[in-house]
């Protein structure tokens, strides 16, 4: 990338090719407890070699108690401590949990809604609908919704009860919670483990989309790849209108991450853990520090589920305002809500034995197969919906989890496109107004609070999500169901 980028790794990372889509980093230095595995094609791998992605993958392999290998997914890129697009499973009792393996935006994730409308049904009112959503869903810097304010007491209930609390406030339908990972609520959430600062940030930001790469899109089904599974998820035909919401736990989650990185730094000294990078700070799984983090992290997970629930409600309300009919008439059913940044206690088969492990998914999507007890009953016969958003103006994907993912990637796959150009480079090349115009020429209506965001998020600044999804499909860690393209975009 020439001037643009490139902070090469501090050392050469050896790589062994296993097949066209699988590469291994052998245990090339003494601290590595397991090898690294990268799922990528040659182009994606080449891009990863220009920065510290593979070095970070090797660093993660140093974590005490890590099983099998440190995984980098096809969308892998340099992150903080962990690469983004990284998965690591560590022993529940005799290993560690690391906030860096979750990230600042705890439960940044995606939800998908389907309608029974076709593109031509909403085209005449698309501008009005997008504008209405833009008014109803607070987005961008310092965004707030004046009529949806939580008190400190509300926040405690919300982080304990997750999506259900929001539904109980009248924002949602009773069946919504069932259609979320964890049914929209991790049970171990304990607000006593969350700082006052985090709570204060959380109170002001509940029900807001945020900024940066977060978005809300009205999309249409562009192509169906697996008709049977698509039908189980409510996708009937090409041209069908869908809505995708991509956001996270806002300042609440960021502050919890920040607070516990401090706790974990102390823990690293206390328990004499040797790490190759300060940002992998962690604590033994059975320590108080780990338990406290896990309880606080669960609060942020529930906050993010609740946040997306509130936003979805305002989308349904916007359809009602514009079309003057009950939103249920348009379908507007939740297909699924899935986390991209999370740590979970799960059971996986490792060397023939069932083991309880901490699975860290940092920029990774859970991809459980059919019949898994953790997925909604309605989807038991097909598998878990996997949602992979693209960048602004490009396609987004619905995939389905597989048994293969359970065998080779701890039930996980990729989560997005990953950047190709830095924010500065994107700003030098694109101007927000031109980006908007170019999208509108392609029939994509755009509303954003920020011209800078439009330039930074211009679609040539990202890798092609179709290639990332293709690798996932070929490796078999989540297979293609349907592709969506946007017809309207709301950005922070």
């Amino acid at each position: 990338m020439g001037e643009e980028e490139s902070r090469p790794p501090p050392e050469k990372i050896p790589l062994e090719k296993i097949d066209n889509y699988t590469w291994r980093i052998p245990k090339y230095k003494p601290g590595m407890r397991v090898p690294g595995i990268i799922f990528a094609n040659a182009d994606l791998l080449e891009k990863m070699q220009t920065d510290r992605t593979l070095w970070q993958c090797a660093n993660v392999a140093h974590l005490p108690g890590i099983y099998k290998y440190s995984i980098t997914l096809p969308d892998g890129h340099e992150g903080y401590g962990f690469p983004i697009g990284g998965v690591a499973a560590t022993d529940y009792e005799e290993s560690v949990i690391s906030p860096g393996g979750v990230g600042y935006d705890i439960n940044c994730g995606v939800r998908l809604l389907i309608t029974n409308l076709s593109e031509q049904d909403i085209r005449p009112k698309l501008a009005q609908l997008t504008n209405t959503i833009f008014e109803n869903v607070p987005c961008g810097l310092g965004s707030r919704r004046k009529d949806f304010k939580a008190t400190a007491h509300d926040l405690e209930r919300l982080v304990i009860e997750g999506v259900q609390w929001v539904i109980d406030q009248g924002l949602g339908w009773s069946e919504d919670a069932e259609r979320c990972e964890e049914r929209g609520c991790m049970k171990n959430a304990n607000p006593d483990k969350v700082s006052t600062t985090a709570k204060n940030r959380g109170v002001t930001q509940i029900g807001t989309l945020g900024s940066g790469n977060h978005f809300l899109e009205i999309q249409k089904v562009d192509k169906i790849y697996d008709a049977k599974t698509a039908k189980a998820f409510g996708i009937e035909h090409e041209g069908q209108v869908t809505v995708m919401i991509h956001c996270g736990s806002r300042g609440f989650g960021h502050q919890i991450c920040s607070d516990y990185l401090r706790v974990m730094e102390r823990a690293v000294h206390k328990y004499n853990i040797v790490l190759p990078d300060r940002e992998l700070a962690c604590a033994p799984g059975n320590s108080n520090e780990a338990e406290d983090y896990y309880q606080a992290m669960a609060c942020a997970v529930n906050y993010a589920f609740a946040n997306r629930q509130a936003i979805m409600h305002w989308v349904r309300q916007s359809f009602q305002q514009v079309f003057k009919e009950d939103p249920e008439r348009f379908g507007l059913k939740l297909v699924y809500d899935v986390a991209h940044n999370i740590a979970k206690i799960e059971e996986h088969r490792i060397n023939g034995e069932r083991k309880k492990v901490w699975v860290h998914r940092k920029g990774a999507t859970r991809a459980f197969p059919q019949g898994h007890p953790e997925i909604p009953a309605d989807y038991a016969s097909v598998g878990q919906p996997v949602l992979i958003p693209g960048s602004m103006g490009t396609s987004s994907w619905l995939l389905v989890g597989t048994e293969k993912a359970m065998q080779i990637s701890f039930g996980s796959t990729a989560h997005g496109a990953g950047r190709m150009l830095s924010r500065n480079a994107a700003k030098r090349r694109f101007w927000g107004g031109d980006v908007k115009k170019a999208l509108e020429q392609r029939g994509i209506f755009v509303r954003s609070e920020s011209s800078v965001v439009l330039a930074e998020e211009a679609d040539p600044a990202y890798k092609n999500v179709d290639i990332v999804v293709d690798v996932s499909d070929r490796v078999g860690i989540a297979t293609k169901v349907a592709r969506f393209v946007p017809i309207a975009v709301v950005k922070g």
Binding site: E3, E4, E5, R7, D51, H77, E78, G79, Y80, G81, I84, Y104, D105, G140, L141, G142, T197, N200, R201, T204, Q205, G210, S211, G212, N213, G251, H254, Q255, C257, S258, L261, R278, E279, R419, L421, S422, R423, N424, A425, E449, S450, V452, V453, E456, G492
Partner: protein, 152 residues
Amino acid sequence: MIYTAKLMRDKKGYKFLEHMADAYVAAYGKNLAEAFENAALAMFDVMTEVEKVSPKIRDEVEVEAKDEHALLYNWLEALLVKFEIEEMLYSKFKVSILNRTSDGFRLNAEIWGEKFNSKRHTQKVGVKAVTYHLMEIIKKPEKVTLKFILDI
């Protein structure tokens, strides 16, 4: 020295370095205190056009930390938290005390700014968090350089 936003820009108090996903800042000063002031201004420059933020409300911030890296992290985080909770944008900073204490460092600062108003203040990009990633504090005679990444 108290600089206004405009002046500091002209004096190149900070610049944005290349980073793939986030904002990578280099902030300068003739001493640590001044570099901390520029680092704060750079963070608000990521979020908004700081020239349009009028320094009409004064406030104070105090942070402590075990080491200078953590002090920089805590200082920027304290300002980010003030923005998110009080909806305040700041454009003028005066680090008045930056002392070594018995178990680390303490910083006291005066800060000036105004309430965020979406009609008047340009929206750039929200900052999610300060990070330790690639954080550096480089001290040379008469010049301190700080480098850090803000998670976008």
